[in-house]
Amino acid sequence: MSDLIPPNRNGGRKPSYHKVPVKTKQSAKSSGSKYGMPKKPKLPTPVLVTNILMICVILAICGVVFAITYNNMKYDKADASKGQSSAVSTSGIQSAASSVPQSSAAVQSTAVVSTAESNAVSENSGVQSTPTPAGEYDADYFSDALFIGDSIFTGLYGYSYIDRANVAAAVGYTAYGAQVNPFDESYYSGSAVDYAKSRSPKKIIIMLGTNGLSSQTDMDDFETGYRGLLNNLKKECPDSKICAVSVPPITADSSMASYSGITNTIINSANERIKSLCGELGVLYYDLNSVLKDENGYFSKDYAEADGMHFLGATYPVLLSGVQKILEQQ
């Protein structure tokens, strides 16, 4: 019998068993893990409810806080943009970097505006200018002036540097057109010369010539048109100081210039004619063209709008500063 029964490893003694807890239905259910993880204590129901409630309350508070913060941010942004578009004038020294292109300060104020430290950014074009030459001018100095020009001069009031009433300018305007065509029929029914006569300004500033200049332009015809304008203004406004501003340059890659066929060589020829004419008729001449050119002889991108022909807002103080200096010399 003993041969049939294998001996125990402990030498036939009564086997000793480790004490293993007997799993009851209850203990198996509450043990939490079949891998022997420790048993988790069950939360009492009131505690569970309180926890859920607290989470819900926190969520609700977060929602309210988020809504209030979002609203405040939104209104702050709206106020900021409103403030920009209705900037109030101030006196004293201003930097054009802060006043251009949004501020309307220059129009009503007696401010001396400077672009000396300008680092203006054109909001939508993404073009950032480098520091520009000093462009200090007295906005009040131009309160009795009239600016006659093309679309570039519409920017004088477009950017709020000069009051609308002091500008007779139109898209596509020419020296000939300024004598016979209305610059804005909804504003004034007559030509720029008619308007000058009606206002008798103490200063008249002209910048015309870009429109109509191309490789086909007959410079004698160009001069004839310009001469007619100057003579008409001298006749109608004999007490006015008149200053002719040179035709501004174009950039090397000006899309507008490539369309119209205008080049800097043509512009330079036109400016020689204007300068000569001014000397002959005793009219002041301001060479803005040279001021706006870069080292390669093109319209500096620090001053040029995206089409390489029109002005950035920050360019107008440079124009006004130069014109004021020329007029004051007389």
């Binding site: 409630l53 939104k74 578009s85 949004q102 054109s122 909001e123 995206a306």
Partner: protein
């Protein structure tokens, strides 16, 4: 029973949190409908959606017109307007501009519509008919001046249908 109460309270708290997201009187936030936006908000949205770009893809600055400039720039009497927002190209290089006006009454709305229509026609003549920038002609093709009650909207820009959608 306790579970049901807890679930009910949780649901109530969750609803309260979503109500908070709606904001004050529904003026702002993601649930605000287009019609409840102010003129400035609509114009700003359009400014962001349709930048002032010419036919050669040059982007120009846009600038809002202030109340002081309304008469001189657009020929509109500010006394006729209770709320407005207008953007123009201040450089005068492209014909792009748009705006929304809430007039004080229907007669004022008619005056505003008439003034804007005349201005739009004049700018078409200057920019396109007289050959200044004929490449911008497409901007006038579906340009519009529309009046609905006391509200007048108008646009000449690169995407006039989008402008109409956002200004309405």
């Amino acid at each position: 029973m306790k579970k049901k109460i807890a679930a009910l309270l949780a649901a109530v708290a969750l609803c309260a949190s979503f109500t908070g997201c709606k904001g004050e009187s529904g003026k702002s936030g993601s649930v605000v409908e287009s019609s409840s936006k102010t003129a400035a908000e609509k114009a700003e949205a359009l400014k962001a959606a349709v930048p002032f770009v010419d036919a050669d893809n040059n982007e120009f600055e846009s600038r809002s017109v202030t109340e002081d400039q309304l008469k001189d720039t657009l020929g509109i009497d500010s006394a006729d307007v209770t709320e407005f927002a207008v953007y123009i190209c201040p450089a005068g290089a492209i014909p792009d501009e748009f705006g929304i006006f809430v007039a004080k009454d229907t007669d004022a709305a008619k005056r505003i519509e008439s003034t804007l229509t005349k201005r739009k026609d004049q700018r078409y003549d200057s920019f396109i008919k007289e050959g200044y920038k004929p490449k911008e002609a497409s901007k006038f093709e579906d340009s519009f001046v529309e009046t609905n009650g006391n509200t007048v909207i108008y646009a000449v820009c690169g995407d006039n249908s989008k402008a109409k959608e956002l200004l309405k």
